[in-house]
Structures are given as structure tokens and as C-alpha cells.
């Protein structure tokens, strides 16, 4: 029963490879490398740390942006070409289509994780770079699953892109928002308390992406197996949650 799913995953990956997406990753890596090299020349001290910190932040953003854009535009194109309806007319459950797509996007995410992990190993210990790359892979899987959910649920590419961007910003910044909400910066009135509770509730729903792919692992070698375990557990839980949401939504859809 899962053979059609594997075929869908394979063709999703082939589509990405034939749309020159790998070259975009390479190009983005080179551009980030050039910019970080330029900034390194400006640094007074700790030039390697400056380069590693800025490069890793840029690479992470680029990887997420390109992957999310590809997931959403690919699904939007497939829906517009009626390819999706053709596939769903085949004798297979809808879950096979959704999970096959997810597997294809997940396999694609390995490419930037590997490439950018190799780039960061120029400034960091190999073990820390490997940890960073694995964590980036988990982050990309979560984002691929969320973009899949948005692309299947929303009728156009632009709202799906906006929703994915908003989700990423929130997931990356919710820890800082919590610090701000609970900080000692004024009177603790009712509205302030309510906002703090709302942000806490939001944080419970979101994955804690600010603990993923941390630059300090590359700069100060603080990453360990425990950190990787936390990233892996969060990835498994959240990808499972998003895949279930996407399936629930997709099963309700009528074509």
C-alpha cells in the first residue's frame, strides 16, 4: 500500500532537483559565505566567531525560506494543473498522497542540511557542525510539514507563504516574547497579565525553534547529545502533529 507513497516522494524529489533548487542552495551558500567573509575582514577581534555566527544565521534563514517556498509553489502548481486530482483518482488512500509528499519534502531537506553543515564545519568542530546540521534538518522538517498543511488547506500560494512566515517568526521569537511579557518592566496590571498568559499559551502550541540550530554550538562548542535528543523529540512530536492536522484537513476536502 505504501509503494505509491514512495513513488510520490520520489517524484517530488525529482521535481525539486529538476527545478534547479539544489543550485539555488549552492548559490545561497556562496553568497552567505562571501558576505560573512567580508564582515570577517571588518571584525576587530574574534573574526572567525563573527563569520560563523553571521553565516550560520543566514544559512538557516535561507534554507527555511527556499524549502518553504518550494513546498508551497510545488503544491499550488500541482493543484492548478489538476495533477493532484489525477493522483487522488487512483485507488489509494488520501493519506498516502499526503505522507508521500511529506516524505519527498523531508528527503529534499537533507540537501541544505548537509551542504550548510559542511560549510559551517570550516569554522567549528566537526561534531558540533554535525549537531548543527542535524538540528537544521529537524527545523526544516517542521517547516516543510507546516507549509504542506498551509498549502493543502489554503486556496492560494501567497496566504500559505504568509502563514508559514508568520509561524516561523513566532516559533523563533516566542521565547523572547515570553521574557518580555514576564520581565520587570512596569506595573503588573490585569491586561499585562492576560497578555503574558496568552503568550504562554501560544508557546505551548508552538515548537521551541529557538532551541534548534544554535549558533553557540558552533562558536563555543556547547552542543551535546542531550541537546540533539531534545531537538529530535520535538521534531518527531511536532511533525506528527502537523501531519495529522494536514490529514484531517485533507480528508474533509471535496474535489
Amino acid at each position: 500500500m505504501w509503494r505509491p507513497g514512495l513513488i510520490i516522494a520520489r517524484y517530488t524529489l525529482l521535481e525539486a532537483l529538476r527545478s534547479k533548487l539544489p543550485w539555488l542552495f549552492v548559490l545561497a551558500g556562496c553568497a552567505a559565505l562571501a558576505l560573512a567573509g567580508f564582515l570577517q575582514q571588518l571584525a576587530l577581534t574574534e573574526s572567525g566567531a563573527v563569520q560563523a555566527a553571521i553565516l550560520s544565521a543566514l544559512l538557516r534563514l535561507v534554507a527555511v525560506f527556499l524549502l518553504v517556498s518550494f513546498v508551497i509553489t510545488s503544491l499550488a502548481r500541482e493543484a492548478a494543473d489538476k495533477g493532484q486530482e489525477l493522483l487522488l483518482a487512483l485507488p489509494m488512500p488520501r493519506a498516502v498522497y499526503v505522507l508521500g509528499k511529506l516524505a519527498g519534502f523531508g528527503a529534499l531537506a537533507m540537501l541544505p542540511a548537509l551542504l550548510f553543515g559542511l560549510l559551517t564545519s570550516m569554522w567549528a568542530a566537526p561534531a558540533q557542525s554535525a549537531l548543527w546540521a542535524l538540528s537544521l534538518l529537524g527545523e526544516l522538517w517542521i517547516m516543510a510539514a507546516f507549509s504542506l498543511l498551509c498549502a493543502l488547506g489554503l486556496p492560494h500560494a501567497l496566504p500559505a507563504l504568509a502563514a508559514s512566515g508568520g509561524f516561523y517568526l513566532l516559533a523563533r521569537g516566542v521565547g523572547s516574547l515570553q521574557l518580555l511579557a514576564h520581565g520587570n518592566t512596569g506595573a503588573h496590571d490585569g491586561s499585562r497579565q492576560a497578555i503574558a498568559w496568552a503568550i504562554d499559551a501560544l508557546a505551548l502550541l508552538l515548537p521551541n525553534l529557538d532551541h534548534f540550530t544554535r549558533s553557540e554550538w558552533l562558536l563555543y562548542a556547547t552542543g551535546d547529545w542531550q541537546a540533539l535528543g531534545l531537538v529530535a523529540a520535538q521534531t518527531a512530536i511536532y511533525v506528527g502533529l502537523l501531519a495529522t492536522c494536514a490529514l484531517c484537513d485533507f480528508y474533509r476536502k471535496s474535489f
Binding site: E46, S56, S176, E216, L219
Partner: protein
């Protein structure tokens, strides 16, 4: 897909293209003709806001803030001397960057070796105050900047009381194994420069007695230094013979 010849584009469109291009060029030229004006250094965002804006990359934000600060003296068409910078704001920028990446020494190096080199003693003291406050938060990692600050106070500002205060703070707080003996001895050397020979002897003797210095060469050096101080003291007070 084949393209049609250029002649297929209507003339009015060519005219519109030329006009808009001309407008853009004129606009840019008009912008350039206004004389460049230096912008004052604004206060930095709070550490919490900078952390939020960093999207979970506080280290990259810290480095970017320091590079931005560093490039602030070279604005479009104007080169600002350090004397023209608002050093209170500068210290706040450095403090925010350091809060975002407390393990980095970048902000302290910039403060103690670059910005403290300004020819204005008030501004230089502001940087030394920043270094001193930062050092107190993490002496084991930040002692090099404090040693540099002591040297700036002594040799650049010629303010021996300030150098003594900084050197004393260095000796009392930088007690880790990685801190070299010379850093803790700086207080004695400043005291010697201030002709406070008794105090210098007490500090050096205390360091030897505390057991913090175990290297035999260091101990021999300190013993020679004690002898030199004793000789200077005798020379300064000829009637004093009890040291012999």
C-alpha cells in the same frame, strides 16, 4: 519563445521609459547634491528587544550590532572622530551586545583597546568604567580587558589612583587558575609608581603568602621586586635602616 523586434514597441512607451529613467537619474543626482551630515549615535535597542529581533540568533545579532557600531564612524561622505560619538550611548551599545553574547570578548576588546584610546579623558574614563563594570560580572573570562584598562589608566590617562583602583579590583576578583600572576601583581607595580612602597610590599608579600603563585620563576621575580622596592624605600627615606 521568440521575441518580436524592438520596433514593435510603441514610440510612446520608449518615450515613457526614457522619461522615467531620466527622472530616476535626476532624483539620485539631487540627493547627492545635499551636503552630507553626520548622524549622532542613537541609543541602542534594549537587550530584550534585540533578542526578539534576532529570531533566536542572539550571537549573530551581537556581532552585527558591534559591526554596525564599528562602521558608525564612517557615514556617507563623513568620517566621524571618536570624540564626536556619544560615549554614554556607545557604552550602552557595547553593554547590549555583551548581554546578547556574554562569552564573547569583542565588546570589551573594542572598549578597552579601541574606544578608550580616544584623546578625550572624560570619554576614555567612560569606557574604563564600562570595562570595570563588565569585569565584575565575569572576572575569570574578562580579566584581559581589565588589565588593559589598568594600563590605559596608568600610561594614557596618567591617573595612578584610577589605575590603582582597577588593578586592585583585578587582584581581588580575578582569582581563577587561568589568570596569570602578572595580572595580579599590577597593583603592586602601580603602588610602586605612586611611591607607596609599604603598600606595594604588603601586596607582593600577600600574593606570595597566599600560595596563588607557585611558579618558581615568578616567585624569584617577586622576591627580586621586593628587594628593589626595599632599596627604593631606603633611598626615599635615608634614615630608615630597619629593612637591612
Amino acid at each position: 519563445m521568440q521575441q518580436k523586434p524592438l520596433s514593435s514597441v510603441p514610440r510612446t512607451l520608449w518615450l515613457a521609459l526614457a522619461l522615467t529613467l531620466l527622472l530616476q537619474l535626476s532624483w539620485q543626482l539631487a540627493q547627492r547634491s545635499t551636503p552630507p551630515q553626520a548622524r549622532p549615535l542613537p541609543p541602542p535597542p534594549s537587550a530584550a528587544m534585540a533578542r526578539l529581533a534576532s529570531l533566536g540568533e542572539p550571537l549573530a545579532m551581537s556581532k552585527a550590532m558591534l559591526l554596525h557600531l564599528q562602521s558608525f564612524e564612517d557615514q556617507a561622505g563623513v568620517s566621524l572622530p571618536w570624540r564626536a560619538l556619544d560615549y554614554d550611548h556607545l557604552a550602552l551599545w557595547l553593554d547590549t551586545a555583551q548581554t546578547l553574547d556574554p562569552r564573547s570578548r569583542y565588546a570589551l576588546v573594542a572598549a578597552s583597546e579601541i574606544y578608550a584610546g580616544v584623546a578625550d579623558p572624560v570619554r576614555a574614563r567612560r569606557m574604563l568604567a564600562f570595562v570595570s563594570a563588565s569585569f565584575a560580572a565575569d572576572p575569570a573570562r574578562r580579566w584581559p580587558a581589565m588589565a588593559q584598562a589598568t594600563l590605559v589608566a596608568k600610561h594614557q590617562l596618567h591617573d595612578l589612583p584610577l589605575a590603582l583602583t582597577l588593578a586592585r579590583q583585578l587582584r581581588q576578583q580575578a582569582t581563577g587558575k587561568d589568570v596569570p600572576a602578572w595580572a595580579r601583581q599590577m597593583e603592586a607595580f602601580v603602588l610602586e609608581d605612586m611611591d607607596q612602597f609599604d603598600s606595594a610590599q604588603i601586596v607582593l608579600g600577600g600574593l606570595i603568602a597566599s600560595g596563588q603563585i607557585s611558579d618558581p620563576h615568578e616567585l624569584a621575580f617577586m622576591a627580586r621586586k621586593l628587594d628593589e622596592i626595599a632599596a627604593k624605600k631606603k633611598h626615599a627615606i635615608p634614615g630608615n635602616t630597619h629593612l637591612q
